[in-house]
Symmetry: C2
Subunit: 213 residues, 2 copies
């Protein structure tokens, strides 16, 4: 049976985005630094249409995430950093240009209904207005044998966890403090995990947990 997993980078103080996200800095102040470990990897650059790059212990982590993902679930903020009606959203087609790096069906949880948006390269953006559980169910159907990735943001991951629908979470811990921003886990979050795998890579530690029910 396919799994529902989340995979996200966080600071050592537990933030997945820094303070004051906006269109120039969608991950907030210094939020990009959370992902410093990935940008130089060939395994990341290739799918993003970039040449070159290096290979290290993070490479197989990135490749595995791509290979296992049959469909993606994300929140509206992750999709566009916007809210409200789509016609007022400057990033209404998403952050990634006309060939987004997903190459699978993506289910965006939003309050604002909209037709499916097909993009180049196999990515289709589907807009789900009846909540995270519905989005996960639709993604599971679309993923077939493969797994469903909850891409983010933190709120989507928290909702999936609270709904008892998350099987696995990998936190890639970046060695810095952001001091504020969007916490991966909000106060009141509840959960027990079983440590599944640790990958010790340059500038990041990938901690993978199975969610216990």
């Amino acid at each position: 049976m396919s799994k529902v997993f989340a995979d996200i980078s966080a600071s050592l103080d537990g933030y997945v985005a820094g303070p004051d996200p906006n269109l120039e800095e969608p991950l907030g102040a210094r939020g990009e630094d959370l992902h410093g470990w990935v940008f130089g990897l060939e395994a990341w650059r290739g799918p993003h249409g970039l040449d070159g790059g290096e290979t290290n212990a993070s490479s197989s982590v990135v490749e595995e995430k791509i290979t296992r993902t049959g469909a993606v679930v994300m929140g509206r903020r992750m999709f566009s950093n916007g809210e409200g009606p789509w016609e007022d959203d400057p990033k209404a087609e998403g952050w990634w240009g006309d060939d987004p790096p997903f190459h699978v069906p993506v289910f965006v949880v939003t309050h604002h209904a909209r037709e499916t948006l097909p993009m180049k390269g196999g990515t289709t953006f589907n807009f789900v207005t009846d909540g995270i559980e519905s989005a996960i169910e639709q993604a599971r159907a679309a993923a077939g044998e493969k797994d469903v990735q909850i891409a983010g943001g933190a709120s989507a991951i928290q909702q999936a966890l609270a709904a008892g629908m998350l099987d696995e979470i990998q936190v890639s811990v970046a060695p810095l403090l952001l001091g504020g921003g969007t916490p991966l886990f909000s106060p009141g979050a509840d959960g027990a995990f079983e440590l599944d795998r640790v990958v010790d890579a340059p500038g990041v530690t990938h901690l993978r947990y199975r969610v216990q029910r």
Copy 2:
């Protein structure tokens, strides 16, 4: 030159104690679970006067911490969970009975002056009223060639970091969410670290960082 280091267990959501600490549960609700990985270790049981126990990848981490520590700095709350005048503090001699597990000089940062308190087994509790920097300097003098351990709580570690006096921090990440309590790093904390070592042990991951200045 000897180093100043902190070594503390935290939940995956970044708390070093759970909600509502009190004399019955000094680490708050479920806070003891943060330390579940250590209680069964022979390396921990021996210094606490207990027989038996097992050996695993955490054992050398615990032994190393004991071996390198020449003096300890801690906050008043960690010492007694109290505040205010000592005569009103039910744990005015500390949590650990007459033979505390430190066996080195301990410097307790407090607002309330008090004579040095010698205990069995080489532990002496010294009470420092002029702040964390003074406590660290006094501990450094007492530690000789060995290192100074900032034992906690979170506030003492944050103060040492903010004062630019922390060389190293090891966070032992326990695979659970506490959902609230005392955060290891408070909002506004600032810092960049260099990942120094990862120890993948049963039920815990020991992440050691060098503090960059």
